[in-house]
Symmetry: C2
DNA sequence: ACAAAGCGGTTGTATTTACAACAGAAAAGA
DNA sequence: TCTTTTCTGTTGTAAATACAACCGCTTTGT
């Protein structure tokens, strides 16, 4: 677990905390390490979760397959980001989504109750972690709203423009690489893959953008 | 402001805190009272927000009008619920949505920094408020994901079923009243009003549900 | 009481999407 | 290297949607 302390230091959750301090907090926070192969489920719909999970290696998707087999990708988690924070409340019930490794991945799970409750003894920087946790969870909140903004667009084209514009802004560049292949992007925007592929090519032909594989450039 | 202490007591934020304790915390938390007439803006897109806002009277909508005039209702806030918690982080930037009173409404604003930082002197129950805040913000998170679930449905009918099913479950009854008129419901689900109205009537004719005004019953 | 505004339902048409099926290119695996 | 699988783009058709326009009813405000 010590191996990943440098990764943890760069996360939002441990922002402003030194590696030594993180090391000494691991036990206090009930940290446990788990690894998953590509395609494996980290968490499953219906399970109970009593942990905050930080991804320290790989990439996972938060997704859900409905009754008819339609897959929705609700979000992607990159190294250093966390998930499960929506279930910190005792009465929050079971997980509504699956979490799946899209690459070989490693996570560290922290006991929720130990994270949000400052312990009386030691752990001088625990209160900073509590505050970081606030900021992280509220940032996640804004991201969800942003995604709702994409989803509330009526047409596939509008959804694409909404999403790609955000990515361009996030990268501070009109050229960027997206972390999805076509099927995943379609699942993320909740549209049909072939229809989206079609629309993408139309937009390219109209001179709105260029792309090659996952590399895009808005014009 | 004292007038609303009983209302605050029943909110998620002050769960487990007595009225006397709330009264004594108001100053500590930098509470301020504001009232709005139906239709007035509580907050506007582009503004900076440094407060947690609790609705103590009326009802407000979190919404956004895009470049073309399409309105999206991202969420509704009822008495006792809070909003603005997505902007607690110092670097969270400006508001991305409008907050509009859909009835005459009254809110109490609390200084963010004072809420999430326990003060060294007095305020014995402040730490409980911090924990409540965690639970509330994480619950909001789940709600957003739930809404994403509705939005990710492909057709108007599926969106309606997804939304109405959730409402039925929330009310623990197949009969319930929704807090939207037709136009608002359409804005909430990001579909065309007339198309939705049409679909709703089709579903009624097929015997899937009954409705009269805002009262629905699933069959 | 009356006029004006808002609400809910209906219809027709042009547009857009979902779905299925297929083909070539690229990637993965044996 | 060869085979298999995955990925991406393309096309055609049936289905669903957006949009505009209209009507009757209810609510609001004067």
């Amino acid at each position: 677990m010590e191996k990943y302390v440098p990764v943890l230091k760069r996360t939002r959750l441990f922002s402003g905390v030194t590696q030594e301090e993180i090391s000494s907090m691991l036990t206090c926070l009930g940290a446990r390490l788990f690894s998953y192969k590509k395609g494996e489920y980290v968490l499953r719909q219906g399970e109970h979760l009593r942990d905050i999970v930080v991804l320290v290696e790989g990439r996972v998707h938060i997704q859900r397959d409905d009754y008819w087999g339609n897959r929705s990708i609700l979000g992607r988690i990159d190294v250093g980001e966390m998930f499960g924070e929506a279930y910190v409340a005792p009465e929050s019930g079971v997980l509504l989504n699956d979490v799946v490794a899209v690459e070989d991945s490693t996570v560290i799970m922290f006991d929720v109750r130990r994270v949000i409750t400052t312990c009386p003894s030691g752990c001088r920087f625990h209160s900073m972690v509590v505050q970081n946790m606030f900021f992280a969870i509220s940032e996640k909140n804004r991201k969800l709203v942003q995604k709702l903004g994409h989803m509330s667009r009526r047409t596939t084209r509008e959804k694409l423009i909404s999403y790609l514009s955000e990515e361009a802004e996030r990268h501070s560049s009109s050229a960027f690489t997206i972390p999805f292949n076509r099927q995943q992007l379609a699942d993320f925007l909740s549209v049909d893959r072939s229809a989206m592929s079609n629309e993408l090519c139309k937009m390219r032909d109209e001179g709105l953008l260029e792309f090659e594989k996952n590399n895009f450039r808005l014009l």
